[in-house]
């Protein structure tokens, strides 16, 4: 069969294959799908092109993120079975097709086709692509799983940093009247069509780099000098394996799900409102802000860097500290940071920026460290599939975070442009409570009971056992 090179059995690494080729393979996928967080570049163009509301266009992104969570949860076991190369190829096909169908929808002025294309089809590509390299990276880096997954998931944050200026430059090339540096400038719909076609083809080709590079380690392979017993001695780290279907029956899964939900909810709360928030915190009695719009835009950029850097730095650090202590840091120190932001954030712009930056590094760190935490608790057998199911917490947090912030701001009765720090305080103190819930959930995590472990054998069963085995 022509595509048999995509099969798992054809992707087993030959002796001598460098494991340092696997992180760039993962980055090739994550840098592309990270574009999902750079849709604001052409949002206004689509609003004008379809002559519709911001909400109607915002739904495109919402469908994509919901499909990310759903497809990661539903297709996680399939990804584990077919291996990373087939999964990355499928992700590239869905992601590129999403852009092309979306382009057709824009060209023919049929918004439902953009929902179907970028939202539904592209969203499936997002979900498969997000989890596709995780399990493989963990198997290649049993000594440094946090470092490995941190590098890949950093790419998802980096993808938006790449797509945002690239899309602006491409749009200005396709529409001479469009200036990406001018806030009021709007590109023509035809330029967005060409942008979608360019991104679809470009991302497909770039993701193929990951497809052709990724390999799984041979059975029994370990890195040179690695002593598995040093990992096993750490608290919570198991050498047993738990299937995805059994993992969701354990309290550990749902406690970690709660941890991710709380950490992401708190971070999204700041990310969503970053630009107006910094201006509102330093607004005087006359309604003028000490922070200019350009500086507020710079603040958003700084948070993007913090988000990306936190993914790599904290996840790598967790290999030394252990996963549970690092989440105590994210959530415990995060609570203190949020409390200080609400109480003393108005005292200086520098303090405000520093606190927000630290919070966003914890937000990114929480995303990147969770696959290694899952590996510690459930083993490597179906860690990608378990990760996929856990990402439903992200989908929910994407709704809960903005809802909390916007709910309190709406309740304050203030209009945008007139809000002050006091209007944000109830929401920020609520985030302290949200993080406290996550902190307690993390404290309650204990090793998984042996009755959920897969039977000991030379080759673990490919399919989950469905019913927990009683030991």
């Amino acid at each position: 069969m022509a595509l048999s090179f995509l099969d798992r059995e054809h992707t087993v690494a030959p002796p001598g294959y460098s494991r340092w080729l696997i992180p760039p393979a993962a980055l090739a996928v994550h840098l592309c799908i990270g574009q999902a967080y750079a849709t604001s570049v052409y949002k206004n163009s689509l609003v004008e092109h379809f002559d519709t509301s911001n909400t109607a266009i915002g739904i495109i992104f919402s469908i994509a993120i919901v499909m990310l969570g759903v497809s990661a949860a539903v297709l996680g076991t399939w990804v584990e079975r077919v291996g990373p190369r087939m999964a990355m190829f499928a992700s590239a096909c869905f992601w590129a097709s999403g852009f092309l169908v979306g382009a057709l929808g824009i060209a023919t002025e049929q918004l439902w086709l953009v929902y179907l294309g970028y939202g539904f089809i592209g969203g499936i590509g997002l979900g498969i692509g997000y989890i596709s390299p995780v399990s493989t990276l963990i198997k290649w880096f049993p000594d440094r799983p946090g470092l490995a997954t941190g590098m890949a998931i950093m790419g998802f944050g980096g993808g938006a940093l790449v797509a945002s200026p690239l899309s602006g430059q491409l749009l200005s090339r396709y529409d001479g009247g469009f200036d990406p540096t001018e806030p009021g400038s709007i590109a023509a719909g035809s330029a967005v069509v060409l942008l979608f076609v360019t991104l679809g083809i470009g991302y497909f080709l770039f993701m193929l780099l990951g497809v052709f590079t990724v390999k799984v380690p041979a059975e029994g392979w370990t890195p040179e000098g690695f002593d598995p017993s040093t990992v096993q001695r750490k608290t919570l780290v198991t050498t047993a394996n738990v299937s995805a279907s059994n993992a969701i029956k354990t309290p550990q899964f749902w406690l970690l799900w709660t941890v991710l939900l709380c950490n992401v909810t708190a971070g999204i709360g700041i990310l969503e409102q970053a630009s107006p928030m910094i201006q509102d915190f330093f607004r005087d009695a006359e309604g003028n802000s000490a922070v200019a719009a350009a500086a507020a835009g710079g603040f958003v950029g700084l948070l993007s860097i913090a988000n990306m850097a936190g993914r790599f730095i904290w996840s790598s650090t967790s290999d030394y500290t252990g996963r549970k202590p690092i989440y105590m840091l994210y959530l415990g120190v995060g609570m203190a940071m949020y409390f200080c932001l609400a109480s003393f954030g108005t005292s200086s712009t520098l303090l405000f920026v520093l606190l927000a930056v630290v919070i966003l590094t914890f937000y990114g760190g929480g995303f990147a460290t969770v696959p290694a935490y899952l590996r510690d608790l459930f083993g490597t057998f179906q860690v990608g599939a378990i990760h996929g199911r856990l990402l439903t917490a992200w989908s929910l947090a994407g709704i809960a975070g903005p809802l909390i912030i916007n709910g309190f701001l709406d309740a304050s009765g203030g209009e945008p442009g007139t809000l002050t720090a006091g209007d944000y305080r109830p929401a920020l103190f609520t985030m302290v409570g949200v993080l406290a819930v996550g902190f307690v959930a993390n404290l309650l995590i204990r090793p998984v009971a042996s009755r959920f472990h897969e039977p000991e054998s030379d080759e673990p069963a490919r399919e989950s056992v469905g019913v927990a085995r009683e030991d």
Binding site: P15, G16, W20, A25, L31, V162, W221, A295, G298
Partner: protein
């Protein structure tokens, strides 16, 4: 189960291939970081 470590390797991946792979993903990432740093500048210059 016998351990298959890199010390058994007869034909290791060349450093050039590893460097090339990292360069291919590093260039767009560097481009993104450079652009975001430009965007961040007004926060520190008060622009």
């Amino acid at each position: 189960m016998p351990s298959n470590t890199q010390s058994d390797n007869a034909k290791p991946t060349g450093a050039g291939r590893v460097a090339l792979s990292w360069t291919i993903v590093g260039i767009p990432l560097a481009y993104g970081i450079y652009n975001i740093i430009l965007r961040t500048a007004p926060l520190f210059t008060g622009g």
